[in-house]
Symmetry: C2
Subunit: 207 residues, 2 copies
């Protein structure tokens, strides 16, 4: 292999410029951070958005409980400290995806303002867009949905530290978007996010 | 906003199929896991590969000490337990990137065979390619390079648990590639990895 012909591979010691990766993808990497109560509709909107973006030629990827809690964060529980660390790691991983040029959608309750603000700061420090989307729904509404029967178990005391019942949810003070899932269908909510991303110029490469 | 026109956004409850994302990108997501002694040349090859792939229209991204140790894993040190957890998290994050369709290159010493094998298993369980690349160089050669003077500090006892001096490095038994960085230039090593990826069909979308 040492006798192979000269090629156009050039030696590099650092990352590809973010702009070059964005140009390749025709978009700007960003984190779209969904937050809200259990059963508020975060995941449905996040997955609907993921599909809509990929159908439109954009690279999007959802980070959610299934691929984070069962993998990277499987050594964390639901105590306040573990929730902090869960969201800290999520923020760091989302930042890496955004840096790689991906439109990454995170779908976690992320109940504490301080944790979400820290994720926002991590992105700000890296010069990456962070779009906090509050999926708003009353506990009463979420409780009537409750597809997995979790609220019922929490009310019965079978689930401890359940957000909205026995653990707090701190509403965002200045989210980029508020989507009222009692008023909007998942499709309508997704359309609003798509419009927001386009308006912010994220569905085109930035220099 | 609730009066907007009907659109072609369809409600989804789960991820985009991996094949659809690969088709969008014209490649198959995979992890290229570089392992070797400090100063063996891992990062130079990984970054050269990242540039070469992006220049050829492929989405690649390097995970290394700079973006992992200073972010996601900044709460970990260099004890054996912390090294385990460092590499465990790295394996999980690499898997997410590969799942998202990215050709992700990890550049970590990753000295323990068991840790690397666990990362391999995480990928196997997810049906994702894992390419272990052993960047081979003797301790003596690495020590003559030593751009950051780390071997020197380790020999002087100023750096504890330094791989190759005061902490073990377990060579891979069955890596997909061995690149002898005493024999190959970073360009030549990169050419070999590119050829391997092409041969394995990863530079085209898989169904």
């Amino acid at each position: 292999m040492t006798t192979q012909k000269a090629t156009n591979v050039t030696w590099h010691e650092g990352h590809v410029d973010r702009a070059d990766r964005n140009k390749l993808l025709g978009q700007s990497g960003a984190t779209i951070w969904f937050t809200g109560l259990p059963s508020s509709g975060k995941s449905t909107i996040a997955f609907t958005l993921e599909h809509a973006l990929v159908e439109r030629g954009h690279l999007a990827y959802v980070l959610d409980g299934d691929n984070i809690r069962h993998g990277l964060n499987k050594n964390l529980g639901f105590s306040p400290e573990d929730r902090n660390e869960n969201i800290r790691r999520l923020g760091e991983v989302a930042k890496l995806f955004a840096d790689a040029g991906v439109l990454v959608c995170t779908s976690f309750i992320s109940p504490y303002r301080q944790d979400r603000d820290r994720a926002r700061q991590i992105h700000a420090d890296a010069g990456l867009p962070f779009i906090e989307v509050f999926v708003k729904a009353s506990v009463e509404l979420c409780e009537t949905r409750d597809p997995k029967g979790l609220y019922k178990k929490a009310r019965a005391g079978e689930l401890k530290e359940f957000t909205g019942v026995s653990a707090p949810y701190e509403e965002p003070l200045n989210p980029e978007l508020v989507l009222d899932s009692g008023e909007l269908s998942p499709q309508q909510a997704t359309e609003i996010v798509l419009l927001y991303l386009a308006t912010k110029g994220l569905l085109a490469a930035k220099g």
